[in-house]
């Protein structure tokens, strides 16, 4: 558990607790909580996994949170929101695996009110390029952002870019499309 601020439940693809450089940068502004995923995380039902994860978050006394899910943990992240829609504010899927072809999942994911950010790396040779489109078709509010020069581990390959766009999205949700930082060349103080 790192940092203060709005809680982010961070699900690492490798299931471990080792924070990535992107995770550490996020912890400067958010309270980032990593939950260890079980050994059978890839074979277990994502729905069951999500139920256990939500229980763990509740046990920590956290009522409102956002979720970052990487790779295979993306489906569990969406299930967490499906099961606790009132608790989850926004979702980030970093280089997610393609969404499962499961009617019950698809139907419920389509009803999610939360905004979802899908991050893809331009150097990723594994994730199929149509992956972003599949999530856009599935979800009500989905934004795809390419992180240039990153492969599968965006939070390690481009930590600053990762933390910047994730942080902005979790703070401003869909309004993150409108730039709110200054482009003044010399932001001089008024006299």
């Amino acid at each position: 558990m790192d940092g203060k601020g709005h809680p982010i439940i961070y699900l690492h693809e490798d299931g471990g607790l080792q924070p990535s450089p992107g995770h550490e940068l996020l912890a400067q502004t958010f309270r980032v909580i990593t939950l260890e995923l079980p050994e059978n995380r890839r074979s277990a039902s994502s729905e069951d996994l999500a139920r256990n994860l939500n229980a763990a978050v509740t046990a920590l006394g956290i009522e409102r949170y956002s979720i970052v899910g990487t790779s295979f943990a993306a489906t569990a992240a969406l299930w967490m929101a499906i099961l606790r829609p009132e608790s989850v504010e926004a979702i980030v899927l970093s280089v997610p695996a393609a969404p499962p072809r499961d009617e019950s999942f698809e139907k419920r994911a389509a009803e999610l009110p939360q905004p979802v950010l899908v991050l893809l790396g331009t150097d990723d040779k594994v994730t199929p390029p149509e992956c972003g489109r599949l999530y856009c078709e599935l979800l009500r509010s989905c934004h795809v952002v390419f992180v240039y020069g990153a492969a599968q581990a965006i939070d390690t390959d481009r930590p600053e870019a990762f933390a910047s766009v994730v942080g902005d999205f979790l703070t401003r949700k869909e309004q993150f499309v409108v730039r709110d930082t200054s482009a003044l060349v010399h932001p001089e103080r008024s006299r």
Partner: protein
Amino acid sequence: MKASLFCSAKYVAPVPDDVWPLPGTYYSPDVAVRSMQTTIDQFRLADEYGFDWVTCAEHHFSPMSLTPNPMVMAGALCQVVRRAKIAVLGPTIPILNPVRVAEEFAMIDVMSNGRLVAGFMRGTGNEYVTYNINPSESRERFAEAVDLIRRCWTELEPFGWEGKYYQNRTVSIWPRPVQNPPPMFMSTSSPEAAEFAARNGIGAGFAFTTVPLAKKAVTHYRECAHAAGWEPTPDNVIYRAAFHVAETDEQAFADMATLPPRVSLTNKNKALSEAVTKSGYFGSDFAGQTTRNATRALAERIELGQIVVGSPETALKQVRRIHDELGAGIIDLVVGVQLGERTMRSIELLGSKVLPRMHEF
């Protein structure tokens, strides 16, 4: 072999040739209007005389070229040039907004019904001064911008871009190109550029170099493409040379004698030239990249394949040698000298007497 006519929209009145940037005090709007009209007339003539492409390019703050935005010229050419492809070789990618470039290219491809040839150029060092971009970042900006431009053309869902130099939160361009994708070229004189082009399936362009240097570079490009799993055809290789054709060799050489020696834009400004060199702009092959632009006498320029000069018969021999040495499928012929009717005649002679025979090899 195909031919393109490249007219840089040179300012058609005497002005100092050794200054960059040139002050506006030398500028006359009447001459500028005449210069633009001359350019359009030459492109129209080239189209009528069977040139396969017409070419325009970006240069700033100089009477050498009045097309700081070649997309504007290309837009006009969509209406004037009925048959030839419209090659924008090119916009200076690293100093521009890549999304805007993708949109403008798409407009030209739609307005010309699929006749765009898209060039991605880094430009000459002086261009970095115009929009205040650090030339040491040129290659990185270029690589990222090319990736972004191509995604603008191909991604169907709105997307954001978290780059190193460019950041967009929502992109979904309209219109989109007719060709999927348009033919793409970049300058590949340096080893780094040849490697990038080969890796990304982009055609090779050689401009303001020499045939011996281009031969070495095109060999490197072909080797890199082979390593990347594809074999470039002659249509993937463009070589640019100046030209002037007259009825006889004597007349052509007499016409060329009126022209001052060519000085590269960057070399017109000593402080600028030194700062650009210091920035690492020229890459690993520094010697080759700086000497290829040296000022040379006409005979030497012909020998090196920098310019094609003479009667149609002589011009054909010179073009043939460039083709055979490089395996280039397209020669981008730059109007060598602006002499009014004599230049129009040069385009006619090239189109009627040289081009039909070029098309056979």
